[in-house]
């Protein structure tokens, strides 16, 4: 069953009607409903087109968080071969919100790391909704060090509401873990490419996305704070998330304009969740292009280029 977002209600009605007609026709052989159903399909498609070509920033947040959106695991399974998960931070625990390991991308061995949110209640709890604890960042640091040592490119997939705000996470040094992970991203002498596939939630995202190339899916978002959080602080009303989403400029399109995102990956009509396979294929193609752009460069120049890229960010604002 499709999970409709609140602004897709009119679409749900039309698609529901078409479905009903077809169900009736299946029970009653003589009924000819094809024309009518096709008209409804057309109408639904037009509406979908209309809704998705002008998604507001808040609606993009909703699409980016859609439960049926392909998640890290889906990408890893479809785009990589021989994925061998490597676990643990060697200090305290394994964080299931972060998955990572060795794998082949187009037969080339790489290290892949990403946030995994889970796809049903049980796996979401297991994955802590993609909110990493210090162990997750420390695992990532360990894997990046290994990639550096064995000269393997690193691919990171970003999809997190943010780092987990919990008691244990704080006690074990959440901020230090994030800082070290960002630092490690800047140190490794191998290509590092990131794709924001859903939510790029604040420091929890930066820790993996301080990369040579950062791509974003068309309806993904990347922000310093969630619109709800920003609204409750600046508007003193968490219901003002629409205004906050607007003001924060968190869409892929805005971030491309600001030079934070290097490439926008188009999503199928109606968002990634309406065609996961197509989306995954586009992300795969983008990763291939980005890795190719960086191949053959030596470690020192990759580190230097990464630093320069981030030092330069912010030299221009958005056009008025």
């Amino acid at each position: 069953m499709t999970h409709y977002l609140d602004f897709e209600k009119p679409l749900a009605e039309i698609e529901g009607k078409a479905e009903e007609l077809r169900a009736m026709a299946r029970e009653n052989e003589e009924m000819d409903i094809e024309d009518e159903a096709a008209a409804l399909d057309r109408k639904a498609r037009e509406l979908l087109q209309d809704l998705y070509t002008k998604l507001s920033p808040w609606r993009k947040c909703q699409v980016a968080r859609h439960p049926d959106r392909p998640h890290c695991r889906d990408y890893v399974e479809a785009l990589f071969t021989e994925f061998t998960a490597l676990a643990g931070d060697r200090g305290f625990a394994d964080d299931h919100a972060v998955m990572g390991g060795l794998a082949r991308f187009d037969d080339m061995p790489v290290v892949v790391i990403g946030h995994e949110k889970g796809h049903d209640t049980q796996s979401r709890i297991h994955r802590n909704f993609g909110m990493a604890r210090p162990e997750g960042y420390r695992k990532a640091v360990r894997l990046m060090e290994m990639a550096d040592r064995f000269r393997l490119p690193v691919v990171t997939l970003i999809d997190t509401p943010g780092a987990y705000p919990g008691k244990g996470a704080e006690e074990r040094g959440q901020s230090e873990a994030i800082a070290r992970s960002t630092e490690k991203c800047l140190q490794i002498g191998v290509p590092l490419v990131s794709v924001v596939i859903g939510e790029g939630g604040s420091g929890g995202a930066v820790a993996f996305a301080t990369a040579n190339r950062v791509a974003m899916l068309e309806h993904s978002v990347y922000s310093v704070i969630s619109p709800e959080g920003c609204a409750s602080i600046l508007w003193k009303d968490s219901e003002k998330m629409r205004e906050a989403a607007e003001a924060l400029r968190l869409t892929a399109q805005d971030l491309y304009g600001l030079g934070v995102c290097d490439r926008i990956i188009a999503e199928p009509l109606g968002g990634a969740h309406r065609d996961p396979q197509g989306t995954i294929a586009s992300v795969g193609a983008a990763i291939a292009v980005m890795l190719k752009e960086l191949s053959g460069k030596d470690g020192a120049s990759l580190v230097e280029a990464r630093r320069k890229k981030f030092l330069k960010i912010g030299s221009k604002g958005l056009a008025a």
Partner: protein, 316 residues
């Protein structure tokens, strides 16, 4: 209407009103509630004389007490694009900036200076919690990069005093990007084997803690400072339980292995001198008998090169 009402009265009023509102002559300690006289507090570096509670101190006051004779030269920070996102909540971001500038008399939330502490040349950067909660935006990022570059150029250690609620939301993603940018600055120092000492002051939270404030060679905090990634309120809302007493204070972090030391502000300068000199392979400091290199009193001297003199024949 005559000259008396137009001229004399306002003058008289202004004389009286000036006398009647001697602002901040007395203030109440947030820790123990004792009423403290302003000179008593400022002489004690804004530490309560009764309970030792550390109150906020402006970067300028801190530098005046930190540098030998209160003399340092301010390092210029490249000005970032103003209001890059055209941000507006209930107020426009440029208006909030103007209000903060007016209230503090400062341009932005970080001050960078270079000078000597106990005859040890250093670069220092201090975040101003009074300026929009010390929030880290592009200016603060530029300030830290400028501080690191200056430290590298002069071959000096960098001492950074952090104080911030986190990233500046009004600069959106560009404030978040200061996390990697400031991390690059820290790397510049580390590559040149220059000490980077962080002094975490109340409060240091969010993206600031999760970047340059946690990457020091030595991590010192002031007593009682709140240091965290997610604030206690956010955590209580998430896990729906009361947090233990003293959670996320400097002492708590020290106990959990996240800091090297917790040091009283009044002893901080001495400690910084000791640490930087050892890390820089300099001889032990000479305590107590050093005449200040600049003017006798603690007046500020922003003239470039003022801290560089050392030509008064008093060098150890």
């Amino acid at each position: 209407m005559n000259w008396i009402t137009n001229y004399v009265r306002p003058r008289i009023n202004s004389i009286f009103s000036r006398r009647e509102t001697p602002e901040n002559l007395w203030s109440k300690c947030d820790g123990c509630g004792t009423m403290l006289f302003h000179r008593e507090i400022s002489d004690n570096l804004n530490v309560c004389t009764s309970c030792g509670h550390h109150m906020n101190i402006t970067p300028r006051d801190r530098f005046a007490a930190l540098f030998d004779g209160g003399v340092y030269s301010e390092i210029e920070v490249p000005e970032p694009v103003a209001d890059p996102l055209h941000f507006r909540d209930s107020k426009r971001y440029p208006d909030r900036m103007k209000a903060a500038q007016k209230a503090t008399g400062e341009r932005e939330a970080m001050l960078v200076g270079t000078g000597e502490i106990g005859r040890t040349p250093i670069v220092a950067a201090a975040q101003d919690f009074g300026f929009m909660g010390g929030s880290m935006g592009m200016y603060v990022g530029n300030a830290i990069i400028a501080a690191a570059e200056e430290a590298v150029r002069l071959g000096r250690p960098l001492v950074l005093f952090s104080a911030a609620g986190g990233a500046r939301m009004q600069e959106g993603i560009l404030s978040l990007m200061q996390m990697p940018r400031t991390t690059v600055a820290v790397q510049m120092l580390k590559e040149k084997r220059l000490p980077y000492i962080v002094v975490l002051t109340h409060p240091t939270t969010g993206g600031v803690t999760a970047s340059y404030a946690m990457l020091g060679d030595v991590q010192i905090a002031e007593p009682g400072a709140l240091i965290c990634f997610a604030g206690p309120r956010v955590i209580e809302q998430t896990i729906r339980e009361k947090l233990p007493e003293g959670f996320q204070t400097a002492e708590y972090l020290l106990e959990h292995g996240m800091l090297d030391r917790v040091t009283d502000r009044r002893r901080m300068r001495d400690e910084l001198i000791v640490l930087t000199r050892m890390l820089m392979h300099m001889p032990p400091p000479t305590w107590g008998d050093l005449p200040p290199p600049g003017p006798e009193d603690r007046t500020r001297d922003d003239a470039p090169g003022a801290a560089e003199d050392g030509a008064d024949g008093t060098a150890a």
